[in-house]
Protein backbone atom coordinates (compact mmCIF):
# COMPACT_ATOMS: atom_id res chain seq x y z
CA UNK A 1 0.00 0.00 0.00
CA UNK A 2 1.28 3.47 -0.84
CA UNK A 3 1.78 5.59 2.24
CA UNK A 4 2.80 9.17 2.82
CA UNK A 5 5.49 10.08 5.28
CA UNK A 6 4.38 12.11 8.29
CA UNK A 7 6.77 14.88 7.30
CA UNK A 8 4.49 15.87 4.44
CA UNK A 9 3.23 18.99 6.11
CA UNK A 10 6.69 20.28 6.84
CA UNK A 11 7.79 19.10 3.44
CA UNK A 12 5.45 21.38 1.51
CA UNK A 13 7.64 24.43 2.07
CA UNK A 14 10.72 22.30 1.58
CA UNK A 15 9.40 21.03 -1.73
CA UNK A 16 8.82 24.58 -2.93
CA UNK A 17 12.36 25.64 -2.06
CA UNK A 18 14.02 22.50 -3.39
CA UNK A 19 12.07 22.78 -6.65
CA UNK A 20 12.98 26.38 -7.37
CA UNK A 21 16.62 25.69 -6.54
CA UNK A 22 16.75 22.73 -8.91
CA UNK A 23 17.94 24.76 -11.94
CA UNK A 24 20.73 26.53 -10.03
CA UNK A 25 21.85 28.73 -7.12
CA UNK A 26 19.71 31.66 -5.96
CA UNK A 27 19.74 34.09 -3.07
CA UNK A 28 16.90 34.22 -0.54
CA UNK A 29 14.97 37.07 -2.11
CA UNK A 30 15.16 35.42 -5.52
CA UNK A 31 13.85 32.16 -4.04
CA UNK A 32 10.87 33.95 -2.49
CA UNK A 33 10.15 35.82 -5.74
CA UNK A 34 10.43 32.71 -7.86
CA UNK A 35 8.03 30.76 -5.63
CA UNK A 36 5.54 33.62 -5.68
CA UNK A 37 5.74 33.93 -9.45
CA UNK A 38 5.48 30.23 -10.15
CA UNK A 39 2.46 29.79 -7.89
CA UNK A 40 0.70 32.90 -9.13
CA UNK A 41 1.06 34.50 -5.71
CA UNK A 42 -0.63 31.64 -3.86
CA UNK A 43 2.55 30.72 -2.00
CA UNK A 44 4.43 33.61 -0.46
CA UNK A 45 7.48 33.62 1.71
CA UNK A 46 8.52 36.66 3.66
CA UNK A 47 11.62 37.21 5.76
CA UNK A 48 10.03 35.65 8.84
CA UNK A 49 9.01 32.44 7.10
CA UNK A 50 11.80 31.99 4.58
CA UNK A 51 15.03 32.27 6.54
CA UNK A 52 14.24 29.93 9.44
CA UNK A 53 13.30 27.39 6.75
CA UNK A 54 16.46 27.97 4.72
CA UNK A 55 18.65 27.72 7.81
CA UNK A 56 16.95 24.51 8.85
CA UNK A 57 17.44 23.05 5.39
CA UNK A 58 21.06 24.14 5.50
CA UNK A 59 21.47 22.43 8.87
CA UNK A 60 19.91 19.30 7.41
CA UNK A 61 22.41 19.59 4.56
CA UNK A 62 19.69 19.75 1.91
CA UNK A 63 21.04 23.08 0.71
CA UNK A 64 24.39 24.80 1.04
CA UNK A 65 25.01 28.53 0.99
CA UNK A 66 27.88 30.80 0.03
CA UNK A 67 28.36 34.52 -0.08
CA UNK A 68 28.97 35.84 -3.56
CA UNK A 69 28.64 39.04 -5.52
CA UNK A 70 25.41 39.57 -7.40
CA UNK A 71 25.22 41.15 -10.86
CA UNK A 72 24.64 44.51 -9.12
CA UNK A 73 27.97 44.10 -7.31
CA UNK A 74 26.38 43.52 -3.88
CA UNK A 75 27.18 40.59 -1.65
CA UNK A 76 24.38 38.05 -1.48
CA UNK A 77 24.14 34.65 0.10
CA UNK A 78 23.44 32.09 -2.62
CA UNK A 79 21.75 28.79 -1.87
CA UNK A 80 22.14 25.65 -3.91
CA UNK A 81 20.98 22.08 -3.66
CA UNK A 82 23.35 19.58 -2.12
CA UNK A 83 23.43 15.99 -3.33
CA UNK A 84 21.17 15.10 -0.37
CA UNK A 85 18.75 17.85 -1.45
CA UNK A 86 18.70 16.55 -5.01
CA UNK A 87 18.08 13.05 -3.73
CA UNK A 88 15.23 14.20 -1.53
CA UNK A 89 13.40 16.10 -4.25
CA UNK A 90 12.16 13.09 -6.20
CA UNK A 91 10.57 11.15 -3.30
CA UNK A 92 9.15 14.37 -1.90
CA UNK A 93 7.42 15.07 -5.21
CA UNK A 94 6.11 11.52 -5.25
CA UNK A 95 4.78 11.80 -1.70
CA UNK A 96 2.95 15.01 -2.53
CA UNK A 97 1.47 13.42 -5.63
CA UNK A 98 0.16 10.55 -3.51
CA UNK A 99 -1.14 13.01 -0.94
CA UNK A 100 -3.06 15.03 -3.53
CA UNK A 101 -4.45 11.92 -5.16
CA UNK A 102 -5.71 10.77 -1.76
CA UNK A 103 -7.26 14.16 -1.06
CA UNK A 104 -8.80 14.22 -4.50
CA UNK A 105 -10.54 10.94 -3.81
CA UNK A 106 -12.28 12.53 -0.84
CA UNK A 107 -12.82 16.08 -2.03
CA UNK A 108 -13.25 15.36 -5.74
CA UNK A 109 -11.25 18.34 -6.96
CA UNK A 110 -11.57 17.22 -10.56
CA UNK A 111 -15.38 17.17 -10.37
CA UNK A 112 -15.63 20.51 -8.62
Amino acid sequence: MREVDNTVKRGSAELAVLSVLEPGPMHGYEIAKRIEQRTGGVLRFDVASLYPLLYRMEKEELVSANWDESSSGRRRRYYQLTSAGKKKLKPLREQWKIFFEALNQIAGFQNA
Partner: protein, 221 residues
Amino acid sequence: MPDFERVVRDRLGAQGVLDDEVTAELAAHMEMFYEEQVAAGMPEEQALAQSLGQVQDWVKLRKELIRMKSGVSERTRKLWAPGFACFVLAMFSQQCTAWAGLKPHTAFIGTRGLYFQFSPVWLMALPFFGALAAYLSKRAGGQLRTMILAATFPAWLPGFAFLAAFPLTVAMQLFVGSSDLKLMASSFSTTMVSVVIIPGIAMSLGVVPFMGAGTRVRVQP
Protein backbone atom coordinates in the same frame (compact mmCIF):
# COMPACT_ATOMS: atom_id res chain seq x y z
CA MET B 1 17.93 54.51 1.54
CA PRO B 2 17.44 53.30 5.12
CA ASP B 3 20.28 51.43 6.80
CA PHE B 4 18.53 48.06 6.84
CA GLU B 5 21.37 46.27 8.58
CA ARG B 6 21.13 48.58 11.56
CA VAL B 7 17.31 48.41 11.57
CA VAL B 8 17.32 44.60 11.45
CA ARG B 9 20.06 44.32 14.10
CA ASP B 10 18.19 46.65 16.44
CA ARG B 11 14.82 45.01 15.99
CA LEU B 12 16.18 41.49 16.25
CA GLY B 13 18.29 42.38 19.26
CA ALA B 14 20.86 40.26 17.49
CA GLN B 15 24.04 41.93 18.67
CA GLY B 16 26.26 39.28 20.18
CA VAL B 17 23.52 36.68 19.87
CA LEU B 18 23.26 36.02 16.15
CA ASP B 19 26.00 35.96 13.56
CA ASP B 20 26.41 39.26 11.66
CA GLU B 21 25.87 37.28 8.47
CA VAL B 22 22.28 36.54 9.51
CA THR B 23 21.57 40.22 10.02
CA ALA B 24 23.24 41.06 6.71
CA GLU B 25 21.21 38.46 4.84
CA LEU B 26 17.87 39.52 6.27
CA ALA B 27 18.74 43.16 5.66
CA ALA B 28 19.68 42.40 2.05
CA HIS B 29 16.30 40.73 1.53
CA MET B 30 14.43 43.73 2.92
CA GLU B 31 16.58 46.12 0.94
CA MET B 32 15.78 44.36 -2.32
CA PHE B 33 12.09 44.33 -1.48
CA TYR B 34 12.21 48.04 -0.61
CA GLU B 35 14.02 48.98 -3.81
CA GLU B 36 11.59 47.02 -5.92
CA GLN B 37 8.58 48.70 -4.33
CA VAL B 38 10.09 52.17 -4.70
CA ALA B 39 10.98 51.44 -8.31
CA ALA B 40 7.37 50.45 -8.88
CA GLY B 41 6.26 53.86 -7.67
CA MET B 42 5.48 53.26 -4.00
CA PRO B 43 6.29 56.13 -1.61
CA GLU B 44 9.46 55.47 0.39
CA GLU B 45 7.73 55.51 3.80
CA GLN B 46 5.17 52.99 2.65
CA ALA B 47 7.86 50.80 1.08
CA LEU B 48 9.84 50.89 4.32
CA ALA B 49 6.75 49.99 6.36
CA GLN B 50 6.02 47.07 4.05
CA SER B 51 9.61 45.87 4.17
CA LEU B 52 9.66 45.82 7.94
CA GLY B 53 6.10 44.51 8.03
CA GLN B 54 7.39 41.18 6.71
CA VAL B 55 8.24 40.39 10.29
CA GLN B 56 5.32 40.64 12.67
CA ASP B 57 7.09 39.26 15.71
CA TRP B 58 10.81 40.02 15.89
CA VAL B 59 11.28 38.22 19.20
CA LYS B 60 9.78 35.05 17.79
CA LEU B 61 11.94 35.33 14.67
CA ARG B 62 15.07 35.84 16.77
CA LYS B 63 14.26 32.72 18.79
CA GLU B 64 13.68 30.70 15.63
CA LEU B 65 16.89 31.92 14.03
CA ILE B 66 18.91 31.14 17.13
CA ARG B 67 17.39 27.67 17.24
CA MET B 68 18.18 27.05 13.58
CA LYS B 69 21.66 28.53 13.68
CA SER B 70 22.90 26.94 16.85
CA GLY B 71 22.75 23.63 18.62
CA VAL B 72 23.78 20.25 17.42
CA SER B 73 23.71 19.37 13.75
CA GLU B 74 21.16 17.03 12.23
CA ARG B 75 23.84 14.42 11.64
CA THR B 76 24.79 14.51 15.31
CA ARG B 77 21.18 14.03 16.39
CA LYS B 78 20.47 11.31 13.85
CA LEU B 79 23.72 9.38 13.90
CA TRP B 80 26.51 10.35 16.29
CA ALA B 81 24.51 10.85 19.50
CA PRO B 82 22.43 7.63 19.19
CA GLY B 83 25.53 5.75 18.05
CA PHE B 84 27.59 7.03 20.94
CA ALA B 85 24.82 6.16 23.44
CA CYS B 86 24.79 2.63 22.04
CA PHE B 87 28.58 2.47 22.21
CA VAL B 88 28.68 3.55 25.86
CA LEU B 89 25.99 1.04 26.82
CA ALA B 90 27.72 -1.77 24.94
CA MET B 91 31.10 -1.05 26.51
CA PHE B 92 29.68 -0.59 30.00
CA SER B 93 27.64 -3.77 29.86
CA GLN B 94 30.66 -5.69 28.58
CA GLN B 95 32.62 -4.41 31.54
CA CYS B 96 29.74 -5.42 33.84
CA THR B 97 29.89 -8.99 32.58
CA ALA B 98 33.61 -9.01 33.37
CA TRP B 99 32.96 -7.62 36.85
CA ALA B 100 30.31 -10.27 37.37
CA GLY B 101 32.89 -12.93 36.57
CA LEU B 102 31.12 -14.15 33.42
CA LYS B 103 33.82 -15.64 31.26
CA PRO B 104 33.45 -15.44 27.50
CA HIS B 105 32.58 -18.59 25.58
CA THR B 106 34.57 -19.71 22.60
CA ALA B 107 32.83 -21.02 19.50
CA PHE B 108 34.62 -22.50 16.51
CA ILE B 109 33.46 -21.75 13.00
CA GLY B 110 34.22 -24.41 10.42
CA THR B 111 37.29 -26.57 10.52
CA ARG B 112 39.98 -24.00 9.74
CA GLY B 113 40.50 -22.91 13.31
CA LEU B 114 38.41 -19.74 13.00
CA TYR B 115 36.68 -19.01 16.26
CA PHE B 116 35.02 -16.20 18.10
CA GLN B 117 34.62 -15.35 21.73
CA PHE B 118 31.42 -14.06 23.17
CA SER B 119 29.54 -13.52 26.37
CA PRO B 120 25.98 -14.83 25.87
CA VAL B 121 24.47 -12.31 28.31
CA TRP B 122 26.21 -9.42 26.60
CA LEU B 123 25.30 -10.68 23.15
CA MET B 124 21.63 -10.95 24.16
CA ALA B 125 21.67 -7.38 25.48
CA LEU B 126 23.07 -5.91 22.26
CA PRO B 127 19.81 -5.93 20.24
CA PHE B 128 18.24 -3.76 22.95
CA PHE B 129 21.08 -1.24 22.74
CA GLY B 130 20.74 -1.29 18.96
CA ALA B 131 17.00 -0.72 19.34
CA LEU B 132 17.61 2.27 21.60
CA ALA B 133 20.00 3.79 19.06
CA ALA B 134 17.55 3.14 16.22
CA TYR B 135 14.72 4.70 18.23
CA LEU B 136 16.76 7.82 19.02
CA SER B 137 17.85 8.09 15.41
CA LYS B 138 14.33 7.66 14.06
CA ARG B 139 12.96 10.19 16.55
CA ALA B 140 15.49 12.70 15.22
CA GLY B 141 14.29 11.98 11.67
CA GLY B 142 16.88 9.39 10.69
CA GLN B 143 16.22 7.11 7.73
CA LEU B 144 16.78 3.36 7.75
CA ARG B 145 20.43 3.56 6.69
CA THR B 146 21.20 6.09 9.44
CA MET B 147 19.38 3.97 12.01
CA ILE B 148 21.46 0.93 11.05
CA LEU B 149 24.68 2.94 11.20
CA ALA B 150 23.75 4.34 14.62
CA ALA B 151 22.70 0.94 15.98
CA THR B 152 25.88 -0.76 14.80
CA PHE B 153 28.22 2.09 15.71
CA PRO B 154 29.98 0.10 18.50
CA ALA B 155 30.81 -2.55 15.89
CA TRP B 156 31.94 -0.56 12.88
CA LEU B 157 34.00 1.90 14.86
CA PRO B 158 36.54 -0.75 16.02
CA GLY B 159 36.02 -2.49 12.67
CA PHE B 160 37.45 0.48 10.81
CA ALA B 161 40.25 0.77 13.36
CA PHE B 162 41.20 -2.90 12.88
CA LEU B 163 41.02 -2.62 9.11
CA ALA B 164 43.25 0.42 9.18
CA ALA B 165 45.70 -1.10 11.65
CA PHE B 166 46.02 -4.54 10.05
CA PRO B 167 48.12 -3.60 6.99
CA LEU B 168 50.28 -1.44 9.24
CA THR B 169 50.82 -4.32 11.66
CA VAL B 170 51.66 -6.68 8.81
CA ALA B 171 54.13 -4.16 7.38
CA MET B 172 55.79 -3.72 10.76
CA GLN B 173 56.03 -7.45 11.36
CA LEU B 174 57.58 -7.94 7.93
CA PHE B 175 59.98 -5.11 8.63
CA VAL B 176 61.24 -6.64 11.88
CA GLY B 177 61.44 -10.04 10.23
CA SER B 178 58.76 -11.79 12.22
CA SER B 179 56.46 -12.67 9.38
CA ASP B 180 53.97 -15.24 10.59
CA LEU B 181 51.26 -13.96 8.29
CA LYS B 182 49.04 -16.97 8.86
CA LEU B 183 48.90 -16.31 12.59
CA MET B 184 48.25 -12.61 12.05
CA ALA B 185 45.46 -13.31 9.56
CA SER B 186 43.88 -15.79 11.95
CA SER B 187 44.04 -13.39 14.86
CA PHE B 188 42.64 -10.59 12.68
CA SER B 189 39.75 -12.79 11.52
CA THR B 190 38.96 -13.84 15.08
CA THR B 191 38.93 -10.25 16.28
CA MET B 192 36.77 -9.09 13.38
CA VAL B 193 34.24 -11.85 13.95
CA SER B 194 34.18 -11.45 17.74
CA VAL B 195 34.19 -7.68 17.96
CA VAL B 196 32.67 -6.50 14.70
CA ILE B 197 30.57 -9.00 12.78
CA ILE B 198 28.68 -10.94 15.46
CA PRO B 199 28.01 -7.91 17.74
CA GLY B 200 27.12 -5.87 14.65
CA ILE B 201 24.51 -8.43 13.59
CA ALA B 202 23.14 -8.56 17.15
CA MET B 203 22.82 -4.78 17.37
CA SER B 204 21.31 -4.43 13.91
CA LEU B 205 18.50 -6.74 15.04
CA GLY B 206 17.38 -3.85 17.21
CA VAL B 207 16.55 -1.84 14.08
CA VAL B 208 13.90 -4.33 12.91
CA PRO B 209 10.99 -2.91 14.96
CA PHE B 210 11.63 0.52 13.44
CA MET B 211 11.77 -0.57 9.83
CA GLY B 212 8.27 0.59 8.81
CA ALA B 213 8.29 2.31 5.43
CA GLY B 214 6.33 5.31 6.58
CA THR B 215 3.49 6.40 8.77
CA ARG B 216 0.09 7.55 7.76
CA VAL B 217 -0.63 11.23 7.70
CA ARG B 218 -2.17 12.48 10.91
CA VAL B 219 -5.08 14.73 10.08
CA GLN B 220 -5.37 17.63 12.44
CA PRO B 221 -8.76 19.09 13.25
